[in-house]
Symmetry: C2
Subunit: 321 residues, 2 copies
């Protein structure tokens, strides 16, 4: 396993990404505060140029990649937002990128990755199939980038929480979605280093609880993956973020796909932002555990907004997505 990133790495990541990415907005919303009973602030990672937080990590990784590795190109597996991050960073740094995605991947993400000049290859039915494929098949001489176990990715995405704590020092609870776990690990790393009293709560889908169960049991557990929220959809946890979460995460909440859909609708209505399922999971969790959030100052990380028009239509018409 790679060495865990430190808070110094997060501070360095902020400087590294600054020429490429502007800090995202953190706004309070009265309509959401009323729904939760605490003071709700939304961290708008959906405003990133790729529509998702992962790009912070992609830039931080690519900026540190030695020239020799850059010439080999970068290979990775992704359901979409990590791939978009890699494609965006690869374009900026003039690196070839190949993203292995599951068949049936979110077409908005596939199209955006291709528009950024990266190559897409479809393998298997979910993220873990893609991960197994790239890890087994080797990388055709390309550099293999793990979406979970790379410290530069964790330090990069941690800058979202650094921005939250700097903009809102009196924040008491931060909710963060967990897919592979790098975002949540980064949130812990940044928040706990600045102010250990800030509670960091991870959120995963009931229908894809691998990271949750691994965290609960203190060991690597695989679990079924049946959520529609592709950003939360992993069957197996990653070692490096799990190690950080085990040490630092205060709590872990599961939410149903129906609760996520309700939160997506509420975000549309109260913030006029298109939010994808993983991005709405934190609001779904805040509503589920509202009894213990009363009167508290909360930051919810809305991790991304890459929803398809078809998905939006199904959401609004109340049919299953």
């Amino acid at each position: 396993m790679s060495a865990a990133p430190t808070f110094a790495d997060v501070l360095q990541a902020r400087d590294t990404i600054a020429p490429y990415l502007r800090p995202t907005a953190l706004y309070p919303y009265g309509g959401l505060s009323a729904a939760v009973g605490g003071e709700v602030w939304i961290k708008h990672e959906n405003h990133q140029p790729t529509g998702a937080f992962k790009v912070r990590g992609g830039i931080n990784f690519m900026a540190h990649l030695p020239e020799e590795e850059r010439r080999r190109g970068v290979l990775t597996a992704s359901t979409g937002n990590h791939g978009l991050s890699v494609a965006f960073a690869a374009q900026r740094f003039g690196v070839r990128a190949l993203v292995v995605m599951p068949n049936g991947a979110n077409p908005v993400k596939v199209e955006a990755i291709r528009e950024l000049g990266a190559e897409v290859r479809f393998v298997g039915r979910d993220f873990d199939d893609c991960r197994a494929y790239v890890e087994a098949a080797g990388s055709d001489g390309m550099y293999y980038l793990s979406s979970g176990d790379e410290p530069l990715l964790i330090a990069g995405v941690a800058t979202h929480t650094l921005e939250i704590v700097e903009a809102l020092p009196e924040v008491e609870v931060i909710l963060v979605p967990v897919g592979g776990g790098s975002g949540a690990a980064g949130a812990c790393l940044a928040a706990k280093s600045i102010k250990p009293r800030i509670q960091v709560i991870g959120v995963q889908a009931e229908a894809a609880p691998a990271a949750y169960q691994s965290w609960k049991q203190g060991r690597r557990v695989e679990a079924p993956m049946e959520t529609f929220a592709e950003g939360l959809a992993t069957r197996a946890p990653f070692e490096l973020p799990q190690a950080i979460l085990r040490r630092e995460l205060d709590d872990f909440v599961l939410v149903s796909d129906a609760e996520i859909r309700g939160a997506m609708r509420l975000l549309l209505e109260k913030t006029r932002n298109l939010v994808e399922a993983a991005g709405a999971a934190t609001l779904a969790a805040a509503i589920r555990i509202r009894d213990r959030l009363q009167g508290k100052r909360l930051a919810l990380i809305v991790s991304g907004g890459n929803l398809t028009v078809a998905g939006l239509q199904e959401l609004l018409n109340g049919t299953r997505q």
Copy 2:
């Protein structure tokens, strides 16, 4: 008529609003560039805390309002986004605000204005009814703020274009929606002062062409107002922005409500941003005049995103809004 604002006022406005508002994103989108045939950059005013560009003006105005006027409170007429701007600024500066809105105003905007602590009063059927009401009825001792003829509002909103030209100095054409005309006047003021060769093109709805006709004829013309795009819906132009537009605006394009709806759908699909009708008008115009935009570098000001869920549903289901 108030004195026209100068470029120095725009630079000062940027400093004035900086503690309250962060510069908004300006992103290129391959999917939109393909649709237009030029290089399309979107200025994301929908990312503002009020979901619309007007807040730049509201903050700039309120920051300069003398203490005595602040104590009287501020009265204004608005279809929504200007009212939201005033409510946001009034809350920040501890000023009472009363916003007169037409019956049937966009409920998302009404709710957001009230959440910011401002009072709402419904009058008549459209913006001009509200404007006539506040101008005739007097202001109950409150300070009356015109949404169009106030130089501090124009200098404030002009900062969107200052940000565009600074971030993308090689921009060739800027498209800006015209309702009352303050945003377009501000765009001219900022762009032409920095680089007179930048073309600034205003966009209005065919179904509400008062500002267009006034600009064409060089005199104040009223026109019917039947567009669904409330941000473009004025029956009579304002003097101060018209004077600037007459002098500075390069061209003025009208678009149909159907074209606006098509552009809203395209923005959803290609940028994953919820954009209200007025905000999508610039993309509709760019598509309409695409023949003369081939190969050019364009910035489209997406002025706001305050669309209701019902409006979104109708948009996606293809029924009229």
